[in-house]
């Protein structure tokens, strides 16, 4: 097997075995955000999956690991993991832990880097045009809404590579 993003969709059991004991991520909390603690955990996992830091078969920290670093109620972690399971993003394996399952819309790191570059070009031109940060966010948000509305009418173009699309389309997007 070659080391290549495209071959990432090996059996989930293999992936978990190779990655060993260490959890794939650590959580942090923002006390001033006003977002409920369990939702902060959910968002961080979603974010990490979206950016490619977490992939199929990665082990999430155990409940005990999370509470011993954040000093929060274990039920809060259980609630977050239940939510992730409900969304099809994670699955609990009895006696082993909770593992990343679906990877909704996961885009490879090289693609992400390329997209980021084009976005930076856009930001620069917006800056030159005299748009401030809040203006850029507003413009982006409104364009995103338009894009979203229009996409609802036509089918989503599926231009992902073969191996990936199996892993995470139908399951991930709840």
């Amino acid at each position: 097997m070659t080391i290549d993003k495209g071959t990432d969709s090996a059996g989930p059991a293999d992936g978990a075995g190779e990655r060993g004991q260490a959890p794939a991520m650590v959580f942090r909390l923002d006390p001033s955000s006003g977002v409920p603690t369990y939702l902060q955990l959910v968002h961080q996992v979603e974010h990490a999956i979206r950016l490619g830091y977490l992939g199929q078969g990665d082990r999430l920290p155990t409940v005990k690991e999370v509470v011993s670093s954040l000093a929060i109620n274990p039920n809060t972690v259980l609630k977050a993991y239940r939510e992730l399971e409900h969304k099809g993003l994670a699955a609990g394996r009895p006696g082993q832990g909770t593992f990343v399952q679906g990877t909704p819309g996961a885009v490879g790191l090289p693609e992400l880097a390329a997209l980021r570059k084009t976005l930076l070009v856009w930001l620069r031109s917006a800056d030159v045009a005299g748009l401030d940060e809040a203006g850029m966010v507003a413009l982006f948000t409104s364009a995103l809404r338009d894009f979203h509305d229009r996409r609802g009418e036509t089918p989503v173009p599926g231009d992902r590579d073969g191996g990936r699309s199996q892993a995470g389309t139908s399951e991930g997007v709840a």
């Binding site: 909390l29 006003g34 509470v67 011993s68 000093a71 109620n73 039920n75 809060t76």
Partner: protein, 304 residues
């Protein structure tokens, strides 16, 4: 099963009632925050629950139906009093040895394992340990008894912020591992916000609030709107606390139904735990207790 259940529980010291007519039913499996100002009756309630103080009126049972203070109850409850009383001139190892011999249930491996994890040396005199380490030692002694219910009276009061975090983290890890129920008191609500999933507010010897945190937060909201219309809203809704500044009024209300309609012209915001507790403490007549909305709540329209 209820870990603590009280009926008409009261305690009088001389002519003052430290606790009056307390009716509580705390279900198992929760981390319970017992909050209230100094002198509200927190320690009195805890002491009666663990059998250290006899009630003047009413009863208290623990872990199903064991009378508080009975041998069966004592075997399954661990209590850590305020300031974690320990023998300062004993070594950590001797402190373990002593506690082991004073209790029927004891897990020596658990105790030694925890101390090793916490890097607390066995040969050090207890008095030479830091405040945080002493608190952790007291917690270790309590957990090594493998209790079903752990009761902690102001466990964080004398700890610095880092020690507080570490203490809470290791307590929560024990909850995750052993599935024990915990009742802990504090007059600082912020310390308990992330750990507690059940809340009891005591004030002037009375139970003001008791219930699951999630349900309590969902059952209250803050309404923001014109001060001129505040009286009108206060008449129709269960307002716990009202504050006004100029033309704007903020009303913390208890929703009578699940989807209480927001009055026109007002905006509803979710409430935080600290906000909720403060609102009740400022309105001694208001109460949020399990069961139907009590008379006290309906009458509690506080006019600022």
């Amino acid at each position: 099963m209820n870990v603590i259940e009280t009926h008409g529980l009261g305690k009088r010291y001389g002519r003052t009632w430290a606790l009056k007519d307390a009716a509580l039913a705390i279900p198992a499996g929760y981390v319970v925050a017992l909050v209230g100002p100094n002198g509200a009756g927190k320690t009195t309630l805890l002491h009666m629950s663990v059998g250290l103080t006899r009630p003047t009126t009413g009863q208290v049972t623990v872990l199903g139906s064991e009378p508080a203070g009975s041998p069966a109850a004592l075997d399954q409850i661990a209590f850590v009093a305020q300031d974690a009383p320990l023998y300062k001139y004993l070594s950590t190892a001797d402190m373990l040895h002593l506690t082991r011999n004073l209790n029927r249930r004891w897990d020596q491996r658990r105790a030694e394992g925890r101390l090793k994890e916490l890097l607390i040396p066995l040969n050090r005199k207890v008095g030479k340990l830091s405040g945080g380490q002493q608190a952790q030692l007291a917690l270790t002694l309590a957990l090594a008894r493998r209790p079903q219910l752990l009761v902690l009276d102001e466990p964080l009061a004398s700890l610095d912020p880092l020690a507080r975090h570490d203490f809470m983290a290791s307590l929560m890890a024990a909850v995750a591992e052993d599935g024990l129920s915990v009742v802990l008191s504090s007059h600082v609500i912020a310390d308990l916000e992330r750990v507690a999933d059940y809340l009891i507010v005591l004030s002037h010897g009375q139970v003001q609030v008791a219930g699951e945190v999630e349900g309590l937060l969902a059952g209250h909201s803050t309404l923001t709107g014109p001060a001129a219309a505040a009286d009108d809203v206060t008449e129709r809704l269960a307002v716990v606390h009202a504050s006004r500044a100029g033309t704007v009024a903020h009303l913390l209300v208890r929703n009578k139904t699940a989807a209480e309609p927001v009055p026109p012209g007002w905006e509803a915001h979710p409430v935080g735990l600290e906000e909720l507790v403060l609102a009740y403490l400022r309105a001694p007549g208001a109460a949020a207790l399990p069961g139907p909305v009590t008379r006290a709540t309906q009458d509690s329209g506080i006019r600022a």
